[in-house]
Every structure is written in structure tokens, then in C-alpha cells.
């Protein structure tokens, strides 16, 4: 036993927001906890960096209405928000044809608008029938699970422009293509967040507000409160269950505990060695929930020239490589920034292109949208989450067709003393920071109940 070996009530694998929230709830309940984080930082898929003298997020960054756990937690931690800038003209790039519009409604043809509205209404009706808590309990779960989002929407969306706009929304939300996503998973995901529009929009939606201190500050401040309980640079290699307890081996020694919460996405959880091996269904889940592909591209400018010309900075593009662009200027206006998302098919192989080629592709797109001033990028920062060993993609793990039936019930089902957290396991706002909190707290509650039962000898 190495000097760093310890005994605690609960060991948490993963110091992202979900694991940290689980740890805090457990400590509040009187349990001793150790959080093992593979990276040299907490926060997982949130990561804030200094760019041009201000704090920006190269990972998750938004908070929206209905995310009440995140609102309460950030308020408690003294973290402040400000609205995502969205005043002015928006740009639509429909297969290379550029136009501008002002309302929430893109300037596509009337038939296209009607078809889009019908599609949104149908998807909304469908998602309400698929509970995020129990998708397999939906009346026609078998049929929904066999379909992809693409095969489903083909039945009622016939216009290329409407398909293109739906593709953009899906790419940005999942980092995946409509043809890869299982319909049952998709509907449950919408259900967890309150519908497609809520997930896609700024005002009233999931992109409504940003954090002055950066989104990673939530995890950083939480970790500071947890103190020595959080161990960094401790990638976990083995989780061993024995005699009703757990022994977790990391680069920083072995932690023995009565219970374990694994708070990383299934695709990463599958890379840990479990002894005894997990049941086939659970192992299958880890083979079947690939991470989406997202590259964030942050471009600073000397001036927010687009604002001066009446642009909000928002772009929706079916062309790519950036599917959407936002104004991402710092809260005080001092560091003007445009933020682009290279996602799904556009993200694959992106980082294998030469850096100059990537820069040219980004710059040329922005010039097409906002004019030649857009070429004067001051600093360009890219974050490709598929090349992060301890994320392997972003924003979220995605289930293909058939996978819910194959192994979806293994998503949250504890295996002996091992419980599962991480935003993929959330039943509210799956894939979002809010989901990470909800999942962490739910896993902690499971463990508290289990430890309580053990104490009472029941």
C-alpha cells in the first residue's frame, strides 16, 4: 500500500461539474469523499482561458432559463452572468447563398417556413411522448429506437432548405449528423431540455446568458470548497469491487471506498478496467455512445465592426465549415470576438488540416458573412475536443439507432457498488451543465441511500 493510499466512504471518478456536485452533496451528507480527476484541472468539458486579456470559454459556456440548479449554484458561488449579444441583423448562409434577416425567423421561402413550422410542431409533440426518465417506456419505443432522426424527418420534411436548417441545429446541439442519431435518444434529449427550440435558441433558450468569470469557474470554486478531497492528475486505470467495497487505482495511488461514482461519459468509462468485468449490457453501452465532434473557433478583433454595421454576429450556415457563429465579445466589450462552431461532419478531420488552411477557411467564411474587415483576426484560438484524451469529443455522448433497446437501461443502473453520473446520465437537460449537476446529485442521493441502508444494517 503506497503512502498515498486512502480509505473513504465514496470515491468519485472525474472532477468535471457532475463529479464535483456529487462530491459536495455527499460531503454535505457527512460522507468522506475523494475525487480523482485525470487532468491537471477540474471542469471537464468546461475550460476557461485568458484570450486577449479577458476570460473566454473554449468549452461549454451558456446558461439558459429553466436551468435552476446551475442558476442557484452559480449565484451561491458568486458567479455572475450577462446576456449573449444578439441585437441586430442575422446572416443565413444557405448552401452558399447569403441573406440577412432580423427576427427569430430565417428568410426562407413561405413553403419552407410552413414546412419548418410543421416539423417543429411534430417534433415537439413527439418529444412530449418520450420521457427523458424512461424512454423505453414510450408507447412505440421499439419503433422509435429503430429509426434515425434522418429517416424519421424524411417523412415530413421534403424541402432541402428545411432539412439544411434542421441539420445545422442538430449538428450544433449534438456534434453529430441526423443520420447517426437514434430517434428515441433524440426525442428523450429534447424532452430533457424542453424541446428543440429551447436547445437551439439564444433568448429564452440554452444560449441566453454567459458567465463573466467563465463557465469553468463553477467547477473551480466548487473544487476550492472541497479542498483536499479533489486530487488532480490522477487518471483512473482500475476499479475493483471486492467484499462489497471498491478499490480505485489511479496514477496517484489507490483509494478504497464503500461506494464509487463514475462521473465521466460512457465512452471514457469504458476505458477503465473493471474487476470483475461489468455485465455485457453495461460494457456494450460504453462501446455504443460515441462523443459528438465539436471544434470551437474563437476569433478576437480590435473592434466589434459587425456591431457597428448592425449585425448581431449570428450566422446559421448549411455550408460550413462553421455551422453557426455568435458574437462572443467579453462582458465589458473590451475584447471583441466572433465564436464559430465547426461541428459534426465538418469537425471530422478538421485538426488534420494545416493550421493556415483552417485559418483561411474560417477567415473566408467570416468575410463572406460580415465583409472584408472580418479578415483582420487578431488572435485565433481553436479547441478541438476530439483530440482531448479525457473528453474524446464534445458536447455529449450520442446513441445511435437500436442502442436504447440494446443497452439503454444500463445508463444509470448501478453495478454493485458503482454508480454512474455525468451529463449523459441526466434526465433533465442531458448534455448541458445543468444536466451534469442533476446527474451528480442523483448519483450522490443513490449512494447516500445505500450507505444509510448499510449503516442501519438493512
Amino acid at each position: 500500500m503506497s503512502s498515498s493510499d486512502v480509505d473513504v466512504d465514496v470515491v468519485v471518478v472525474g472532477g468535471g461539474l457532475s463529479g464535483l456536485c456529487a462530491a459536495r452533496r455527499l460531503m454535505d451528507a457527512g460522507a468522506s469523499v475523494r475525487v480523482l480527476e485525470a487532468r491537471d484541472r477540474v471542469g471537464g468539458r468546461t475550460w476557461s482561458k485568458e484570450i486577449g486579456g479577458a476570460t473566454f470559454d473554449v468549452g461549454g459556456q451558456w446558461i439558459g432559463p429553466g436551468q435552476h440548479r446551475l442558476a442557484a449554484l452559480t449565484s451561491e458561488l458568486g458567479i455572475t452572468t450577462f446576456p449573449t449579444f444578439d441585437e441586430g441583423k442575422k446572416v443565413l448562409d444557405l448552401d452558399g447563398s447569403i441573406s440577412e434577416y432580423r427576427s427569430q425567423i430565417p428568410n426562407i421561402s413561405i413553403p419552407a417556413l410552413l414546412q419548418m413550422q410543421a416539423a417543429l410542431t411534430l417534433l415537439d409533440r413527439q418529444q412530449k411522448l418520450v420521457s427523458a426518465r424512461n424512454p423505453l417506456g414510450a408507447a412505440n419505443a421499439d419503433e422509435l429506437d429503430k429509426a434515425t432522426l434522418d429517416s424519421f424527418r424524411r417523412k415530413f420534411v421534403k424541402l432541402k432548405s428545411v432539412n439544411g436548417l434542421l441539420d445545422v441545429a442538430v449538428r450544433v446541439i449534438f456534434g453529430a449528423e441526423a443520420g447517426e442519431i437514434g430517434l428515441l435518444y433524440f426525442l428523450a434529449y429534447l424532452n430533457a431540455g424542453g424541446g428543440l427550440l429551447k436547445l437551439a435558441e439564444i433568448r429564452g433558450g440554452a444560449q441566453q446568458d454567459r458567465f463573466v468569470e467563465g463557465a469553468q469557474s463553477v467547477s473551480k470554486r466548487l473544487a476550492a470548497k472541497l479542498g483536499d478531497a479533489v486530487v488532480l492528475s490522477a487518471p483512473v486505470s482500475h476499479v475493483r469491487q471486492r467484499d462489497g467495497g471498491v478499490s480505485v487505482v489511479s496514477a496517484k495511488g489507490t483509494v478504497r471506498a464503500r461506494r464509487c461514482i463514475v462521473a465521466v461519459p460512457p465512452a471514457l468509462a469504458g476505458r477503465i478496467e473493471y474487476e470483475p468485468m461489468l455485465p455485457g449490457r453495461r460494457d456494450q453501452l460504453t462501446q455504443r455512445m460515441p462523443m459528438g465532434n465539436t471544434v470551437k473557433v474563437l476569433c478576437t478583433y480590435k473592434e466589434a465592426f459587425w456591431r457597428q454595421r448592425g449585425y448581431s454576429g449570428e450566422v446559421v450556415s448549411t455550408t460550413g465549415p462553421m455551422s453557426v457563429v455568435f458574437d462572443n465579445t467579453s462582458h465589458d466589450g473590451k475584447v471583441p470576438m466572433l465564436l464559430g462552431f465547426v461541428v459534426a461532419k465538418h469537425a471530422r478531420g478538421w485538426s488534420e488540416l494545416p493550421a493556415e488552411r483552417r485559418r483561411a477557411l474560417v477567415s473566408d467564411s467570416l468575410v463572406r458573412y460580415f465583409g472584408k474587415d472580418a479578415a483582420d483576426i487578431d488572435e485565433l484560438v481553436e479547441q478541438d475536443w476530439s483530440t482531448e484524451a479525457y473528453s474524446r469529443g464534445c458536447p455529449v455522448g450520442v446513441l445511435g439507432p437500436g442502442s436504447y433497446n440494446a443497452c439503454g437501461d444500463a445508463l444509470r443502473e448501478p453495478v454493485g457498488a458503482i454508480h454512474w453520473a455525468g451529463t449523459e446520465t441526466a434526465t433533465e437537460w442531458t448534455g448541458y451543465l445543468e444536466g451534469a449537476i442533476q446527474a451528480g446529485e442523483r448519483a450522490a442521493d443513490e449512494v447516500v441511500a445505500a450507505l444509510g441502508s448499510a449503516r442501519r444494517g438493512t
Copy 2:
């Protein structure tokens, strides 16, 4: 540097048939080789055991016409074959309704037969348009990749009985459901093996002959020829590329080499740590090619009572839990056996059922097919490949819809000094022993060419 550290030309990760064939070809070309096998045995998804005094395969076991590499290799190694028994009546279990038939043609209604024939003809025409060497080069690759096999066949197969029979074939061939399988992957797989009927049938098909010595004997005898080059119980944890060379860390020390061949399925290859990390596309592939689910159920009997009553032992069942049954009696007839396949949806969670319950389900099915004598099972041996840490499923890794476009080109593309083998990377008989050989030899040829270029200083 530990005493077990060595320097060789090529290190091969995985001592299945593919890795061993790669190693032999490399050694024949004059290269020094080390094969690192995680298990305490070679052969991967082939595994022969003594049951009732004879040798049986709990993994892959057949050889069929057109598998010329396997035929040549087994002949060279002195391994003998015998025909799979298929004389007599066959049993069809269509949603619980049992009937018998004698020809290759199941006794379904005439409209169903016509629809089945039309479906097979259409699938055959389609598979000829998708080259196994380059599926993404097919004319409509994008559209094919978006579809699942299920969404495609719904367009032309309307009868429940026909869908049920197709489901059985697909379950047994892939260990997966039609709704999970990407159509482009499916067609390329058929193309690699010469069509669906060839993959599904006994006589003239991939199940035509068995090995007297068991299928694992191929790998065992190959390994014996390779001698000290094969290291058992050496699971690989790290593959490091540095200065144009490779350093591979296993439980048995570090091997340094000029090139590396990883000869394990993508789902397992993804559990190795690579330094530097592999490109996002390659990493995505490892997240997106889950192993199929197959449980082999071997039942020995005192007598081959079914033969005495004119049964061939073959069953095709849309009911399950066994989708197909074969007569699997030992070559000399001394150990009568029925072999059942619990596959795809029936396999998931199978091993979590109590052993008595599993035995009862198997026994009750066989009694329904062959009468009450079938209850007198002498010995029952099950092999659930999803619980094997160094396979994680069987028979093969399966790509869902969209995955070929996302990362299919990473399947065989070398990454620096790392090359990829394993039957998943085969372009002939993908998923079969023949494919394992072809893939291993192809990877070896890549490495020989690369080493030759390096020697010539080009």
C-alpha cells in the same frame, strides 16, 4: 529498462489469427517480430475446448468455399475438415409456430417466398455496387450510409415472416439487429463475403465445413511455428510513437520496434493509450464500432436422437432465445451435440439470468423443435463473448449509420508507424477467419514495404 525489454523490427498487438498471420508473413520477409497477446492463449475469437471427450469450438468454427487463404493455411498446418451435418428435415419456428421443411427453402407462404426472393435479389444487386475495398466510393455512398438496414428493407419487405427470417440471418451474421446496422457497412460486408446467402448457408456457404482439430488449432499451430516471438499474458496498455519508432508497453515489459501492427478490433484498440493521441477520426472509429453480441450454447447428448428421427438438427427461429440451431456432433459421431446461437437482442442480458433459467429456456426450445428427448442434455456449455474482456463481443465489430462517413476511412489508414489488422479491417470475408488472415497479411505487406523504403533510404 526491464530485463524483458526488447528491440525488434515489428511488434504485433494481438495474437488472434490476424496478428499471427501478420507476424508469420513479416518473419518470412526477414523481419524480427514480437507478438503481444493479452490472454494466456492465442486464437482470439476462436477457442477450442474438450467437451464430453471431443474437441469443440466455443468461438468461430467454420470454413466455406471461397476462403482460399484459410484452406491453404489449414492444409499446410495439417488441419483436417469435415462437412457440417445437414441431412434431413429442418425446423422453422415462426413466432412460435413450428413447421418442418426439407429443401433450402423454408415453408412460408408463396407470397412470402416471392417477397423473400425479391429482397435477396435486390440486396444482391446492391451489394455488388458497394466495393468492400472502398465503400465510400459507391455512387450513392452518402445516402446508403445514412440508412440502416432496417429502414432500407422496410421499403420492399412488407410481410412479417420475411422480415423475421431476414432478422434471423442478420442476427446470426452480425450479432446485431437490422435497426442498428448502417446500410453501407452491411452492403460492403456482403460484398466482402460474396452475398447474404453465402454468409447464411451451410452447403456452398460459410458454414459448410468444420475442423476436426477445432478452429483454434490454426492459431495454435501457427504460434508454435513462431516460437518465442509470441508472448502470452501480455495485455498492452500503451503504444508510444517517438522518433519514427514505436514503444509498446505490456504487462510483460516494453517492446521497441520500427513499426507496430494493432491486430485487435477497433473497440479494443480504443482502450489502449496512444502517445501522441491518435487523430480524432481514428479515435472516433474506436468509439463507433461496437462488437456484436453472440452467445454460443453447446448441448451434448448420449445419442443423436434427432438424426434417428430424420432431423438435420437445423432450426431457424424468429422467436428465440436461440435464433439458429445446428447439429454440431463431433466428426467421428462419438459426441452428439446440438449447437444454438443466442444472438443480438436475445444475447443482451442473457448471462445476467440465473443459470437454471438459461438452461430451461434452451431445453424448452429444443424440446419444442425435436421432442422430449431434447430435454436430456448431458452437458451444457455456454460461451458469452460479451463477457470476455479481450473480445467484448462476437463475431465482429459493427458500424451504425453515418459512421462510414464520419470515420470509415480511418479503418485501415496507418497512423505514423502504426498499422491496423484484425478481421474488421478485411476487404475479403470481413468478420470471418479468412478475413483475419487477409487483413493480417495486408498489414504485414504495408509494413514490409515501409521497412524496405526505410532501408533503401527513400
